[in-house]
Every structure is written in C-alpha cells, then in structure tokens.
Symmetry: C2
Subunit: 350 residues, 2 copies
C-alpha cells in the first residue's frame, strides 16, 4: 500500500531558469559569479537555487568548457604511513585549488599501475601525480598516459628512458645528501665500521642513498665491507629477518645507515632478538621520520622528509604546470633534514 516514492530527478539549470523566469544562460552566469548579471536578477536566481536544492553538475560543465577539475593520484603503497601522509597533503592542497583527487592504489604492481592509470584517464584528470610501483618502466607508463596529460613523478624514477615528448616534472627527495648526512653523523660520533642496511639494490632511491653513504665513507677514508651491504625488502619484517647477515663474521659493524625507518625499526627488533641494545650496543639511523621514529625505543635518528608538506608541494607543482603547459619540465629536489635522536649513540668501548 506504500505509495511509490517520488523519483529523485536531479534539479538542473532548466528547473532553476523556469522557476524564476530567466534563461539557462543567465543562471549559468550567476553560478559562476559573473559581474554581468543584474543584482536583483542574481538575488532571485540565488533564492531559487537554494529553494530547489540545486547541485552543480561539474562533469557537464567540464564537458562543455573542455576543462577538468580532477587530478589523479596514483600511489604504490598507501599502507605505508609515508605515502598516506603524502596523500593527505596532496588532497588538502588540491582541494584548496578547486580540484578533486582521483585516487588509485597499485600495491607495487606494474600491471595494476597500468590498469589504474588507464581507468583514471577515462575520467579526464587535468594532471597526474604518480609514485611509481617498483620496476615501473618509463615507456610503458608513457604508452598509457600518452602526451595528453601532464604527469608529476614523485619519489622514484622510472626504469628505462622517457620518450622524447614526455617532459614530465619530478619531485624527488634528496636521498644522496640525506644518507651522506646520516653517515657523517655516525662517523663524527666515532664509528668506523658502518653498514648500509636494507632496501632493494635496484630501486632508484636505494641507489641514491647508498651513493650518499659511500660518498661519506670514502671521504673519511673508511673501509667498505661488501658483507656490510645488506639488501632487504623495504619492510620492517624482512629487515628483522636479515639482521643476522650483518654479523656473519668478525669484524662486525658497530653502526648501520638504514634505507628507511621501516627497515631501521625492523633492525632494532632483530638486534633486540640477538641481545643487542639498539642505541647502546649498536647505532643506527633511518630515513623518512615517520611518526613511529620519534616513539621507538630508543627514539630513531633519521631524516625528516615532511611527507604531508611534500604532498602539498606535489599538488602545487601540477597545478602550476596546468598554468604553463609549455614551460620547461621541472626537477625538484626536496630537502631532507637530519633529526638526531638516541639511536645513533657513539660506539661501545670494549
């Protein structure tokens, strides 16, 4: 016996125009705040908009005006707090600039990355912010993105070389300098046997951080033992498992520059399990300054990358690119800052 619910037809410009006896064009001008409209007309239209509960259809407007009000954010790993903070920063700045964030997660899979990019492109984003999956190749990304949409590369470089037309912007961390600062800090504290621990050899950020480590070691004339270069997945768990590789034969290192905070926290765990007290028997540094770093036991010396701020910066860079599509592509290196905490103690005296 229930009467059929009134179908929720959406209110359109036509309804508003009819409701107050003006044309669609005039309503459209009111909506976009044009100064052409007579004050009284404007007031009448605005009343009617409120009365009928009008909701602007931005997709229709974008279609007609050949504009876009969305930007795609494609991330390799949202579960990592570093990227989650970054995403929050991106969304905040895009929102302030009148854009909406189209989110896509790839979970470090290049196959999903291509699918996600393809799907998001169908929604016509004005630009793309891409933090690539591991082993993502430049030419494959270019094949799906084409030359239509400006892209900003964040955090990692792509494998292979970019097609000539792809003048993509980049926002990278100053990985080499960061790792160099961390290494120099350990050296200044008296360490001589220093390992580089964790990360995948073939990732660009790991390569750069290792280069910073090597630079500092060579400059100080310190020995670099191949055994002290330990690879791991960039996760806490795998890092914990790989801890023993550092101690496979004397002399053991007294300190380690870790690829990132996750790896450093994993190493702390591994050290504890071997009966070594991190920050007392063994010094270590991280990279990223995720929230846990300050709260670890002991607090972790690391490099602050300010991911939220990096997100805001990435959003600024793409929005800027939309203003000047033909300006030369920008390669921005975001600064990192050494945050000294207790994990980077001087070496134990025997």
């Amino acid at each position: 016996m229930s009467s059929p619910l009134p179908i929720e037809r959406k209110i359109t410009l036509n309804d508003i125009a009819a409701g107050c006896g003006v044309s669609r064009a005039t309503v459209s001008l009111v909506l976009r705040g044009s100064p052409l409209v007579n004050k009284l007309t404007r007031a009448r239209v605005e009343d009617e908009l409120r009365r009928q509960g009008y909701v602007y259809n931005r997709a229709a407007a974008n279609l007609r005006s050949r504009t876009s009000s969305s930007i795609a954010l494609v991330l390799n790993d949202l579960a990592n707090p570093f990227f989650a903070e970054f995403a929050a920063g991106v969304d905040e700045a895009l929102g302030a600039g009148g854009f909406v964030t189209l989110l896509g997660c790839t979970g470090e899979s290049t196959v999903r990355e291509r699918a996600v990019l393809g799907s998001l492109l169908e929604h016509g984003p004005a630009g793309i912010i891409l933090s690539p999956a591991e082993h993502s190749e430049a030419h494959r990304v270019a094949a799906v993105v084409g030359r239509r949409v400006p892209l900003l590369l964040f955090n990692r470089e792509l494998g292979g070389t970019l097609p000539e037309y792809a003048h993509w912007d980049q926002l990278m961390l100053d990985n080499q300098r960061g790792a160099r600062l961390a290494t120099e800090h350990l050296i200044a504290g008296g360490h001589r046997r220093i390992a580089f621990f964790g990360g995948h050899h073939d990732s660009s950020s790991c390569r750069q951080r290792r280069a910073g480590y090597l630079e500092a070691m060579l400059t100080a004339g310190l020995p670099i033992e191949p055994r002290w270069q330990v690879e791991s997945a960039p996760t806490r768990l795998d890092a914990a498992h790989r801890t023993s590789a550092l101690f496979e034969g004397p002399p053991a290192p007294t300190a380690a520059v870790c690829y990132n905070d996750a790896v450093a926290l994993g190493l702390m765990l591994g050290l504890n399990q071997r009966g070594l007290r991190p920050g007392r028997d063994f010094a270590l540094t991280g990279f990223d300054d995720i929230a846990e770093a300050a709260l670890a036991m002991p607090p972790l010396t690391t490099l602050s990358t300010a991911p939220h701020e990096r997100g805001r910066q990435a959003a600024q860079l793409v929005m800027q690119r939309l203003q000047q599509p033909d300006a030369a592509s920008q390669h921005t290196i975001a600064p990192v800052e050494l945050v000294v905490r207790e994990s980077s103690c001087p070496p134990p005296v025997h």
Copy 2:
C-alpha cells in the same frame, strides 16, 4: 624558430567513425562490447581505435546515460594507518567493480567535512563512504548530501538523529564485544585492578568500548575506580602524556584496556619512562591490530579489525546498495578478533 607544437586535440568517437567509415553509434556499440556488431566491422573499428590512440570519455558517457562510475570516500584521518589501510581496501574493491575513488580528507574538522562532501557531490558520485569527523552531526551531513546519493557510514556514528529520509547503511566494528574480550582476557590472567585508558568520552566508538569493559568488570564483580578511567586524545603522544594519571594514588591498576593501539603504544612509552616494563610490570591491550602492534616491544595484545578487509567490505556494501536502492538499510557489525601477544602478561606477584 621552433614550429608551434601540434595542439593535442583529443580523439573522439567522431574521429574513429570517420576513420573507418561507420557511424558514431556503431563505434559506441563496439566500445561497450555489444554483440550486435558484425565481427568484421568490430575488427575494423578496434584497429582504428588503437591506431588513433582513442581514450574513452567516461564523463560524457555518464552524462548521456545518467550513470556514474565514481564513489566518494571521505575520511577523517588518512594519517592513521587504520584508515589508510581501509582506503586501500576500498580503492581495490571499487576498482574491481569498475568504479573510481574520489578521495576527500577532513582532518577531523566538521567544517572541512561539509566542504569536501559538497565539492565531491558536484562530481556526481554514485555513492559515498563516510568515516565522519568527530562531533559530526547527522542533520548537517544530511543537509549537504540530501537524499540523492546513498551513503555508507563507517566506523563512527553521527551525532543527533538522522532525518527520516536518510536510510543510510552502516558498517561498524563490534567495539563493545572487542573491549569485553580484552577485559575478560586480562581478568582470566589474574588481574583485578584494570583501567580503561584513552580515547575521547564523547566518541561513539569509545563509548562502546568502555561499555564492553564495564560489562566484563561488572560480570566478574570487580571494582571500577573513576581514577582508572583516563581520557586522552586518540594519539600516541597524548596517551604517553596521560600515563601518570593512572598512578595518582594507591592502589594503582595492574593492567589497562586501551582505547586503541595508538593509545596503547603511547602508554607503553609512558610506562617505560616511569621505569615500568610493559608486559612484565603492567599488562595492556590495544584495539585495531595496526602493523606496529605485532612489532612493538613487547608485542601488543589487541583486537584485529582487518581494516583492508573492512575497506573491501564497505565498497561491496555501497555497490550492493546501488543495485537495490530501495532495500531496507543495512547495519553491519564487523567482527573483531582477540590477538593475544606478550603485552597482556599476568599481574606481577609482590
């Protein structure tokens, strides 16, 4: 002297139709995999689509067919790993269902929540997944969302009462049962003086967890000291600061059921600073089972809520709602599971 770059006009159905001598309508049928199209025609069209590098304009298609292929995800705090994992799960399941995620972060601000909802609605999402900001009011959310778009409430209830027309679905955690399980576990371990630590009194999830704690305490006939009910922001840092409130006068509690993992990790920190060893001198439990819980020292007993899986479930629920707009609204309570680790030791024997 550089020749002007060829303007990147987008390829449309018209270009494809002209390119292989068929009508727009036929190309459209090919794109949507209609069985009506002749095999040879289809092949010709598909070749042409590839040749010209056609990209489907889903916004235009949605406009004409009065459909939508996006769903809005509005989150109170993306920096919290629980919500980041949730978002990853949502995005994964939406993507598999052919939807794109429109992301919006509110940072626990009800003002931004309304702005974000309003902005996302202009993009015509088919549905909304909302994890409300603290103190978000039902009638205010309803005022901006209207009755147009189905909404799924996640994690928290809204203040006030829903307008009659808002048959919103809900996906909530079984907070009360979870906290009861944690409390019973501590009681079974021999604890009698048990605190409830952290969280804001007026949040619905905190109320429910406290109710579970009280239920278990009352059932066991144990005393409930007002001093042992300590409020805090749901963050590690504030929880660490509030630790001393637990020990303001004898008898001190020997264990605490914490509002969530962040609070529990903060309490561990605070205990350490007081010279108390968590998991030996004092037992505690968390809630959420974030990644850090298993890796804390000692590992944290907590309630697993499987946020990634909850995200997938939320996505399923909204997509299901789109199939059956008029079915009765669903209130889903997601199960939580006690994960016993070393932080919930028996009480110390003096």
